[in-house]
Symmetry: C2
Subunit: 306 residues, 2 copies
């Protein structure tokens, strides 16, 4: 095999109570990536339908991942990477994570499949570093492992796959403004109140318990961020209006990753369609354009197309 | 029924990664409490084999709980409370929590059993307030619910019973110095680093996952406190020496509650006996006296004796 085409999914990180550690994988939108071995050294990157991404491999998420793996493998050829970019950069649903994870996944398949999923996250983190200045893994882990994941520790990297509940549906409300993760991280206080931290870890622990016990009532109480979201809300247009209008029908809403997208988790398809309609009613009246997406949880992660 | 005798267990709060939210119940030591309805109003308190506890009901943990329940119930009689105190005050294994929880449990049984377990924790919190100046519930919850518990939220109070693993054994290493919870709380910084908080909530989330999946390897990685314990270690004599000497045989050790007791969690009875012996070898050589206790997890909580 010297060429592979894969579907690489978007993802939601943080999930309100789990800043930098919790995430889940979406069924859609997905990027389509084709990675091919080429005889010459180096990495060629081509990106379809998105002009904002640098294609010089040294400045590119995929390039950083590919170079790290080429070095580790002592690989004497190069790669051609083509991405049909459906996950908008700066949307907050893991666009860079998809490119990074997809690159790691594809190169592994093309070079003998010797790396573990944990290894793939490690290589993909070089891409996240290019994109946001920080080697975070909370979007990468669900893309590579599927479903819900916990990044228990970064040093050493330790990822815990969590149960995925099939009854869960997610609405992504994406205002078409770009918000760089780097900028959204900059506004966060580096010191926090112990009291708030206790509230936060109580909620995260409760969220984890709710996944194992399928306790949706508990889950709905835990999707709350008392530390980061209050600082970032000002970056998200119409946040309160949107979230409050659907709170009766959702288990919870919050900022997806660093924003500007909002995620809303629902139990059951009917509820999720209702929420989609209600949000559309609001966003249709706004001057900002919005992309609305309804997806279920992707338990598999990256899929091989060809 | 106008008299009840119960066995009220000790407990370990915090469990390193879960400051103020996590706790578990021990099989021993236990206080024996007898609570009896008396014709006259007021609360009489008698404490056997422990002179340091105030018996004036206004200054006493049990008194605070009893008065709150008497008021709520509009109860026209009073109570006589007798405690055989086997859980040493100021030991860090929930001595005040036992008195408070036992009082709430017993009074409920004597007055028609109308309160839920959550209600009992709420009333018992009046006792914890007397003892430590803060209405915490991390020792009370495991005593009343049994096993491992999560205090997801204090306002509103929300307690999540967690799975209890029968293979777990606990060694309590109690140096016979008194450390007031109030004092141990005073030395803690009220502001913490976000980065440390992320480490901490990653570990707590991992610990919760380990309980549901019986993943002892994961559990052993998560029993770590990067925030509170480093500040409190200086209060615990010979902490490092004791913990390091047994780390090969335990899943983890840490400060029990606010200390000065150390808890060590082991998988299996054999390991736990080994750990007990190793710790005894060290403590036997010290000038401070130590109480060593080996216990399994108490999944039931308070037991009725008579």
């Amino acid at each position: 095999m010297n060429k592979i085409t894969i579907s690489v999914p978007s993802s939601v990180a943080n999930v309100s109570c789990g800043f930098d550690v919790l995430g889940f994988c979406l069924e859609k939108p997905c990027d389509e990536m084709t990675v091919e071995i080429k005889k010459k050294q180096g990495v060629d990157i081509q990106i379809i339908n998105e002009k904002s991404i640098p294609t010089n491999p040294k400045d590119n998420v995929c390039g950083a991942v590919a170079f790290a793996m080429i070095k580790k493998l002592n690989f004497k050829y190069g790669f051609k990477i083509k991405i049909i970019k459906n996950i908008k950069p700066g949307s907050g649903i893991g666009s860079s994570a998809a490119s990074a994870a997809g690159t790691a996944f594809a190169i592994n398949k093309l070079t003998g499949n010797i790396f573990s999923k944990l290894d793939l996250v490690k290589y993909a983190m070089y891409g996240e570093e290019i994109a946001s200045g920080a080697k975070h893994a909370d979007n990468l882990s669900p893309v590579i492992f599927g479903g819900f994941t916990l990044v228990r520790s970064l040093k050493p990297l330790d990822i815990i796959p969590l149960p995925s509940l099939k009854e869960l549906y997610v609405i992504i409300t994406h205002p078409l403004i770009e918000l760089k993760t780097k900028d959204a991280r900059l506004i966060i206080d580096k010191k926090i109140n112990l009291e708030k931290a206790i509230q936060q870890w109580g909620n995260l622990a409760g969220f984890i318990a709710s996944l194992y016990t399928k306790n949706y009532e508990l889950m709905s109480k835990t999707i709350e961020d008392v530390i980061i979201e209050p600082q970032r809300l000002k970056l998200i247009p119409n946040y309160r209006e949107i979230v409050d209008s659907v709170s009766k029908y959702t288990l919870g809403s919050g900022i997806s990753g660093a924003g500007p997208s909002i995620f809303s988790i629902c139990k059951g398809e009917h509820n999720s369609e209702l929420v989609l309609d209600k949000i559309r009613e609001i966003t249709d009246k706004k001057s900002i354009e919005y992309n609305l997406i309804l997806s279920n949880i992707n338990t598999e992660g990256i899929k091989i197309i060809n």
